[in-house]
């Protein structure tokens, strides 16, 4: 980009990449902005790719379902890596996610061992959100 008028020509999308590692065979549902982008009984590492608009708010959720605690003690899904526009968000910022589960264990984590939903909410354009979480100071406007 050589001048401001070329700003309209840049890629206006953000690529989201989620890499998951199963422990056992977890029943796992993955959503981005209400779109179900993956649901499966995971048996091996998977990578999911998705695209959203540059200015979109983003809600990413990973839900573990149907775990039977008595017979599948170790079943879990690990969010090995989550990146947006090739910027690593998880595990670095896992404390920003909400983890609501049937054991009421809300500690920041990317290891999901309970039935429940882990949700990362980006409630403004991604780069404005990143500015805030990286503690980059005040924003004009």
């Amino acid at each position: 980009m050589k001048n401001y008028s070329e700003l309209t020509d840049i890629d206006q999308s953000l690529s989201i990449c989620i890499e998951l590692t199963p422990v056992g065979q977890p029943d796992c549902w993955i959503r981005v902005n209400h779109d179900l982008i993956g649901y499966t009984a995971l048996s091996e590492d998977i990578r999911l790719d998705y695209q959203v608009g540059l200015m979109d708010n983003i809600v990413i959720s990973v839900e573990l379902r149907n775990k039977h605690y008595t017979t599948e003690y170790e079943t879990a899904v690990i969010i090995k890596r989550l990146s947006i526009d090739n910027i690593e968000i998880i595990p670095q910022y896992d404390y920003l996610a909400d983890y609501v589960n049937d054991h009421d264990n809300n500690n920041p984590t990317h290891y999901l061992g309970f039935n429940g939903k882990w949700t990362l909410t980006i409630d403004r354009p991604f780069y404005q959100w990143l500015h805030q979480v990286q503690n980059q100071g005040w924003l004009i406007g």
Partner: protein
């Protein structure tokens, strides 16, 4: 935006500057309202930037970035949400995107008001630092006149005129998004205009929404000013020091290291108690760069950041590059050894140098930029005779000697006319 000592507006506080106060009545508070200058007169500059040009006034920042030093350009972009490593997409996502679009289709004009000011209060100062100029120190101005270096003293500051101060404060009050005011002296604490403007801002009810930045030379304490400052939303406190060794007394003449150290501790203690952001402000020269690590060390011990606006260019004979290779190597080794003894865990570039949680990383980053500069700055040792002649002239008035403070430079200075 900046208003300089003469009341003339300048677009950028980091712009290339020859050290002289510009006096331009086509863009002066006496003739043009601040918002008119910001919205209309700066349109040409906005147009150049939107066209992707790099104006001459931006060259200081580009040099800083070459040496890994965080520039004013990077810091100002950050306030608009633009990070240079993700320039295009962060620009497209900026909260100011609509304002940029507006300027792009309106020949660079804007309907916004300034949110961030540098306010030059004049040159009223009780110090006469050897690298300073009459524009920034009344004491050195008097000395220069006595020594025949200038014919006349700089004109009075715009903020000595109560009407202009009232006009300026009215503009600030009308600026709905006003956020940051950075005051420059002289020595701010003894400059009447500083107290006048702070008092006016408090009276206007602006203090709870405005952050004030200022720098003190660590020679005085003013409880009156402190009592005003505590009413503001936040304070960015700058404290000028070059070395925590006796050479600081020579360079920041007529400082006394005991007083400097005492006031430094007192300000840091106050800043910590009030939750203010404290920074040490350094102006490294060829006379102090070899003891610069002592300032980094203090900052490291106290969790205080370091800031130097740019690599010194004026006066040219005090640039770090004036040191011959042998002396530069000594300075490099001193700083390098200090850095090795004070490692940090991350080397990610810190653009927001005012993030107190990253003070040590920021100190490390700043020290690394000087390490790089020491090893790569152009050789200007041919300026040594100018340096020696200048110091001898000052010393003829001050009755001191640089060799009392820098005995290790005796051979160097003797061979160049000392």
């Amino acid at each position: 935006m900046r208003i300089n000592n003469s009341g003339t507006y300048e677009s950028c506080r980091w712009a290339v500057n020859d050290g002289l106060t510009r006096v331009d009545f086509d863009r002066n508070i006496k003739t043009v309202a601040p918002q008119d200058y910001f919205q209309n007169h700066m349109a040409q500059l906005r147009t150049e930037l939107l066209a992707g040009q790099s104006p001459d006034m931006c060259q200081n920042c580009l040099v800083m970035e070459q040496h890994g030093k965080i520039s004013g350009r990077q810091r100002q972009l950050l306030k608009a949400g633009v990070q240079t490593q993700w320039f295009e997409k962060s620009l497209a996502s900026s909260p100011l995107r609509e304002d940029f679009d507006y300027s792009a289709v309106n020949q660079g004009q804007t309907d916004r008001m300034p949110v961030d000011w540098q306010i030059d209060l004049g040159n009223y100062c009780n110090s006469a630092c050897v690298f300073c100029s009459p524009e920034s120190s009344s004491r050195i101005a008097t000395e220069f006149k006595r020594l025949g270096l200038i014919d006349a003293l700089p004109p009075a500051s715009w903020c000595d005129d109560p009407e202009l101060v009232d006009q300026f404060v009215s503009t600030l009050v009308a600026s709905s998004d006003l956020h940051y005011l950075h005051f420059i002296g002289g020595e701010t604490l003894i400059t009447p205009g500083f107290k006048t403007i702070l008092t006016a801002l408090v009276s206007a009810g602006l203090a709870p929404k405005v952050t004030v930045g200022f720098t003190t030379n660590l020679t005085v304490w003013s409880q009156d000013i402190v009592d005003l400052l505590v009413q503001f939303k936040q304070i960015n406190l700058g404290m000028s020091v070059e070395a925590l060794t006796p050479v600081n007394d020579y360079v920041r003449y007529p400082g006394k290291l005991d007083t400097t150290q005492h006031l430094l501790d007192q300000w840091v203690k106050l800043a910590q108690a009030q939750g203010w952001l404290a920074q040490l402000r350094i102006t490294p020269t060829c006379l102090t760069v070899h003891e610069l690590f002592t300032v980094y060390d203090y900052a490291w011990q106290h969790g205080v950041a370091i800031e130097s606006c740019n690599f010194l260019t004026e006066p040219p004979f005090m640039r770090i590059g004036v040191l011959p290779a042998e002396y530069r190597t000594q300075a490099y080794d001193n700083l390098s050894q200090w850095l090795e003894a004070h490692p940090v865990t991350t080397t990610d570039q810190i653009v927001n140098t005012r993030n107190p949680n990253l003070a040590r990383q920021q100190i490390h980053q700043d020290a690394c930029s000087y390490l790089d500069f020491l090893s790569t700055a152009p050789d200007e040792s041919w300026r040594l005779p100018d340096l020696v002649a200048y110091l001898k002239l000052l010393e003829s008035n001050r009755k001191n000697s640089v060799l009392t403070y820098l005995p290790q430079y005796e051979k160097l200075f003797r061979t160049h006319g000392y």
